[in-house]
């Protein structure tokens, strides 16, 4: 019966309750949507990083990651790559050679990271082949070996498809090696920094330029079927990789790992700020509701409603009021979020700044379901916390005085 009284009390002053419910709902719509937008941006960044840049898991020879030394390589790379691909949890694996060349073109020079890849294997691990804006994906056309470059580097060095570049690097024996490549294609990812510093050439071409032995690789990159349980896959890969280093993307790119982990905290802080603001509104509403009913509360105390029940009744009213707005807000916020899950939000006005840090200029919202549960729980807690002060006010009433209040 106390539930029924509490619910009816919520609607005693309809205008006041509706204003409060609308305020809570709007606050939560904004909160849910903002969280979904931020999560969407981070998800897109992770997707870009894992599918275009670093993949899910990589294997390197011990100490190679410290300074990319050419002489530190994985032996029997093809066999290892095939064994890894046969693991149930793996989708694909690709072995690569890596060099840090000096690039000379007609209109400028630059540095970067050159990856020697087997196109057919690489296509299954990285989506660079789908990011071409011009040209072909490492198809040989003529006598010069092909090179795939990023749009940012192409702009910087004024290169086009068919342009020639000269690439210099130190080979296995420590000698300077120079080789001409012809630009076969230009790619564009959401990360302009990646586009400016990464070049792709054929495995065989880089192997020859570096004078590397057969069947070796500096890196084996792989994509897993389920990205949520990489640690388990990592341990299986480690068993096959022997002494070589196996690292998941969070270890390969700790900055991004921190970003994703801190995003959850940012989201909670953001929603807590919204709820804290709403909390004051709810306290005010509940306080008015209690002060208006001094006589009635006094009567309830007089006829035997104990303090625990009075407290519960006011607490329930506050939670019901808050939850009404909360449910509407979370529902509408989710609806809007669902819409933008398939229709991206265009933030191209800020694309230059965003792409510099690897963020896409089109964001698809993403709202983790556990976040909805957490928000709902936080809304209930807000309702309870907001009721404490008004409820304490009610409990301090003297029934004899309260029943005679005008």
């Amino acid at each position: 019966m106390i539930w029924s009284i509490a619910w009816r009390n919520v609607w005693r002053n309809k205008v006041r309750s509706i204003i409060m419910i609308v305020a809570i709902a709007l606050g939560l719509v904004a909160g849910v949507f903002s969280i979904a937008f931020m999560q969407g941006a981070v998800d897109a960044r992770i997707e870009s990083a894992t599918r275009s840049e670093i993949s899910h898991i990589q294997i390197h020879a011990p100490h190679f990651s410290e300074n990319n030394e050419t002489g530190l390589y994985i032996t029997q790379a093809k066999e290892l790559s095939e064994k890894i691909e046969n693991l149930n949890d793996l989708e694909a694996a690709s072995y690569r050679l890596i060099a840090e060349p000096f690039i000379m073109a007609a209109h400028g020079t630059g540095g970067g990271k050159m990856l020697g890849i087997v196109p057919e294997k690489e296509k299954r691990v990285s989506n660079i082949s789908q990011k071409l804006v011009e040209g072909t994906y490492l198809e040989k056309d003529g006598r010069m070996p092909p090179v795939l470059i990023g749009e940012k580097l192409a702009t910087k060095l004024k290169l086009k498809v068919g342009s020639k570049v000269n690439v210099q690097m130190v080979d296995m024996s420590g000698d300077l090696s120079s080789k001409g490549y012809r630009v076969c294609g230009i790619f564009k990812t959401v990360n302009t920094s990646f586009d400016e510093t990464n070049l792709f050439v054929l495995y065989d071409d880089l192997q020859k330029q570096l004078a590397m032995p057969d069947d070796v690789a500096h890196e084996i990159a792989m994509i897993c079927a389920n990205a949520d349980d990489l640690e388990t896959v990592k341990s299986k890969v480690q068993q096959l990789a022997g002494n070589n280093d196996v690292q998941i993307w969070k270890e390969l790119n700790p900055e991004m790992s921190i970003l994703t982990e801190s995003m959850d905290e940012y989201m909670y802080i953001f929603i807590l700020i919204i709820l804290l603001g709403l909390c004051f509104g709810i306290i005010n509403t509940m306080l008015m509701a209690v002060l208006e009913r001094t006589k009635e509360i006094g009567m309830l105390m007089a006829v035997g409603m104990n303090k625990r029940r009075i407290f519960s009744m006011i607490m329930l009213e506050s939670v019901m009021l808050t939850l009404s707005g909360g449910v509407i807000g979370v529902f509408l916020g989710t609806l809007i979020t669902k819409y933008f899950e398939t229709a991206p939000i265009d933030v191209s006005a800020f694309s230059e700044g965003m792409e510099k840090y690897g963020y896409a200029s089109q964001i698809y919202t993403s709202l983790p379901s556990e976040m909805l549960v957490t928000i709902t729980i936080l809304v209930i807690i807000t309702g309870m916390v907001s009721a404490i002060y008004p409820a304490r006010k009610a409990l301090k009433l003297n029934p004899a005085e309260a029943t005679r209040t005008e």
């Binding site: 019966m1 009390n9 007089a302 035997g304 409603m305 104990n306 303090k307 004899a400």
Partner: protein
């Protein structure tokens, strides 16, 4: 059989500069089935006396014993429980819960007592019929007249089968017809069900109906007449 025994009761209100002796050495007792009016001018202490007897206010000195229990020695929690089980209240301004129907207002007290649904419904119907509101059980207070609301309040006061009912100026807001009607109902319940009623009142119609009239002035009993 004595159900209330008041001994040497004092109540002093202290404010910054003034000390008011609202109840000053009252000794009284009430028998089961009494229909008593406590009368006196405004500020004479009759409401304070009623509040202390009802466990709503604390005495400065003295004791109130209800059915053998010294209520001024009970903890706040036990006192609330004691009120719920033993005392019915009727207030001047009715004090019904506006969001509940007449039936729910009466039933609510029994709900607090933990009575089961069937018992609650049977007793609520019986009481509302007894006060002449059998046809209006599902109306909210705003849809009832002042007299009807006060009759719901009487039914509510009786819902918990109390040992006695304290009515603080129950007719003050009612017209003559409603007052007569209400007093007739309470008198009937008193005679037929032996329910003890104690009124504080200015109303001569209540005084006229009462079988015992206690007059209080400046916190002291100045007369106690049994008709």
């Amino acid at each position: 059989m004595k159900i209330i025994q008041i001994k040497n009761l004092h109540k002093i209100y202290n404010s910054d500069s003034v000390s008011v002796h609202a109840v000053n050495g009252v000794d009284l007792s009430f028998e089961e089935g009494e229909f008593t009016a406590i009368v006196g001018p405004s500020g004479s202490g009759k409401t304070t006396l009623l509040n202390i007897v009802g466990g709503l206010d604390e005495a400065t000195e003295g004791s109130v014993e209800v059915d053998g229990v010294k209520i001024n020695e009970l903890s706040a929690r036990k006192l609330t429980d004691f009120r719920m089980k033993n005392i019915g209240f009727v207030f001047q301004a009715y004090n019904l819960v506006p969001v509940l129907t007449a039936k729910e207002n009466v039933e609510f007290i029994m709900h607090l007592q933990g009575a089961n649904k069937n018992d609650r419904e049977a007793r609520t119907t019986e009481l509302l019929k007894a006060v002449g509101l059998g046809e209006m059980m599902n109306r909210r207070p705003s849809k009832l007249s002042g007299g009807q609301q006060q009759r719901v309040a009487v039914a509510r006061a009786l819902a918990s089968k109390p040992k006695f009912v304290l009515a603080d100026e129950p007719t003050a807001n009612l017209d003559s017809h409603s007052t007569e009607n209400l007093l007739d109902i309470m008198e009937l319940l008193n005679k037929e069900e032996n329910i003890t009623f104690i009124f504080s009142t200015h109303d001569q119609r209540v005084v006229h109906k009462a079988r015992r009239v206690i007059t209080i002035e400046d916190g002291k009993i100045i007369s106690d007449e049994v008709k």
